[in-house]
């Protein structure tokens, strides 16, 4: 009995909160290496569990049986949806999954803010709580809708190309929505009799803004968008934490905010684009300019056969594999691993060149190759592998396009000019595995394909790689 009372004291709960966020931070430090990462994630999850249990222990707050049942109901629904989703998702679909999980987090923030404002209707609520709660509401709502659109684009429900109003109309509309949202927030803080109405208006306006901001962003920019939305949800959670004066929410939210910010900047840097420019959107829609560039390069493409590729690869000393989103779409990572083993059995050195924004989220290629058991030390980051291309015999580009596009270095007029690329054109020969001659996700033509040393192997990446592997083994 005494124990129960002790467990319900504020001091005990505060102590539990401190333990909880300590574990979360400690868990995150584990993520700095592949060996400690699994444990780190479990430690962070334990911290989360402690925070939830401590909250439920709060004295007297959960005495009503209906409250308890409603919490159980919510948790049960969440578990029933979350667990199978997390268990079944293919590694190739990870960007969508993260977008979706991120979205529901933002949605939860927005809903909580809504209830807060309804609940404190007409009551005296400290202004500072209102301000932080409103920040959470706005950012959470943007994050929820933005993430859903990102999910739709990645899943192929919504076309990946930028969808936007013509000219400056989109920017004006977005600015207008933003101003409406902020104005409504100020009215709410200043005090109004229609609090419940205004908070709903803010959530709706911010929601439309979330849609409008992500819809015009092309698929190639998704790594930046997902990181940014992740940071947003984290910051909104931290803001809600300040409003509720809950330290564990503040700390956890800020960790996510920091990680999202770091990743966003890294991704933007890897594309040589500024975050505001990406959010302004529209990139990848302008096919007009690159078409001209293709004309200049001559436009003859050499197509090759699996057998020729196998011979080329087998007699090489160093082969570098440059994977991209196409490998993810074709789920070709296991086939690629097979090919790598077959080549290694013939004494060929194989390395993987990983561009920071290859795929649709930060580190996407690493996860896929890890799933296929590719040894960690064969994966090379862009800056490490670029000097090695000049001594590389064959580069095998699998479903990567824009990240290998030499136009980024040579053509000041190209939309991707200045973006750091994998300099595969420095290798002695390049083989590009591609489904067809359609341009990449960014809608930009790739002069690499027309170079003399480049040959193309058309077809589904997985089938092509398997064919080549069979030929290599037969040699």
């Amino acid at each position: 009995m005494i124990a129960t009372v002790f467990l319900q004291t504020t001091n005990f709960i505060d102590a539990a909160y401190i333990v909880a966020f300590g574990l979360m931070i400690y868990g995150m430090t584990g993520l700095t290496g592949p060996r400690t990462a699994v444990r780190g994630n479990k430690i962070a999850a334990t911290g989360m569990a402690i925070a939830v249990i401590a909250t439920l222990l709060r004295k007297g707050e959960f005495h009503g049986s209906s409250t308890v049942w409603l919490i159980i109901l919510g948790v049960a629904i969440g578990t029933a949806i979350g667990v199978p989703a997390a268990r079944r998702v293919h590694m190739t679909a990870m960007p969508q999954m993260v977008a979706l999980f991120n979205g529901v987090g933002g949605g939860a923030v927005a809903l909580i803010a809504w209830v807060e404002f309804r609940h404190h209707f007409g009551a005296d609520w400290p202004l500072r709580s209102e301000i932080f709660e409103l920040f959470g509401a706005i950012v959470g709502s943007i994050s929820f809708w933005g993430s859903n659109i990102a999910f739709g684009k990645l899943q192929g429900i919504i076309p990946g190309r930028p969808i936007k109003l013509p000219g400056a109309a989109q920017s004006i509309l977005n600015l207008g929505l933003f101003l409406v949202t902020v104005a409504a927030a100020i009215v709410l803080c200043a005090g109004t009799h229609s609090q419940a109405l205004f908070i709903l208006g803010i959530l709706v306006a911010a929601g439309i803004l979330g849609n409008m901001v992500v819809l015009p962003i092309g698929g190639a920019d998704m790594p930046v968008v997902i990181s940014l939305l992740n940071a947003f949800t984290g910051l909104s959670a931290a803001a809600t934490g300040v409003a509720l004066s809950n330290p564990v929410m503040i700390v956890a939210g800020m960790i996510v905010g920091a990680s999202g910010t770091i990743l966003t900047n890294l991704m933007a840097k890897a594309m040589n684009r500024s975050v505001p420019a990406i959010v302004a959107g529209g990139f990848g829609g302008e096919v007009a300019a690159p078409v001209g560039a293709a004309g200049e390069t001559g436009g003859t493409v050499r197509s090759t056969s699996a057998q020729d590729v196998a011979i080329q690869l087998s007699y090489a000393r160093l082969v570098v594999i440059a994977p991209g989103y196409g490998m993810a779409v074709a789920q070709a990572q296991h086939a690629v691993r097979e090919l790598e083993r077959a080549l290694e059995a013939k004494g060929v050195e194989v390395k993987y060149a990983i561009h920071p924004v290859a795929g649709r989220m930060p580190g996407h290629m690493n996860v896929l190759l890890a799933e296929a058991d590719v040894p960690y030390d064969l994966l090379r980051e862009m800056d490490d592998i670029n000097p090695e291309f000049s001594r590389t015999d064959v580069v095998l580009v699998i479903g990567a396009n824009d990240v290998t596009n030499p136009a980024a270095k040579n053509e000041p007029g190209s939309p991707i000019y200045g973006m750091p690329i994998l300099e595969v054109d420095h290798a002695k020969a390049v083989i590009v595995l591609k489904r067809s001659m359609a341009s990449g996700f960014a809608g930009i033509d790739n002069p690499l394909f027309y170079e003399e040393k480049t040959s193309m192997l058309f077809g589904d990446a997985k089938a092509s790689v398997s064919e080549v592997t069979a030929e290599v083994q037969a040699l």
């Binding site: 592949p34 919510g74 949806i81 989703a85 990870m94 999954m97 991120n102 929410m249 800020m254 996510v256």
Partner: protein, 104 residues
Amino acid sequence: MDPLVIDIAVLVLAGFVGYTVISKVPNTLHTPLMSGTNAIHGIVVLGGLLLMAESSGVLEKVLLVIAVAFGTINVIGGFLVTDRMLEMFKAKDPPKAEDEEQGA
């Protein structure tokens, strides 16, 4: 000290701690990092739990049940999926040694 000042101090310090810790994560682990931190912002579920006791009326209850469900999806799904991914990174070490033997 004003509780708000303390809260904001915690906010700022946590930001710096987060930045320092996360800066050290290598590119290879960026996807698990993202889904792991993604799970962590599911902490908003606490907000849902705390408000559930105070809330009144059907609409508020319904909204909070959805909020708690959303938060739970975020937390449980996020940690599970991160764990799955990280297991793949971990599981790679022993076969790697094997490969080298085979190659030699």
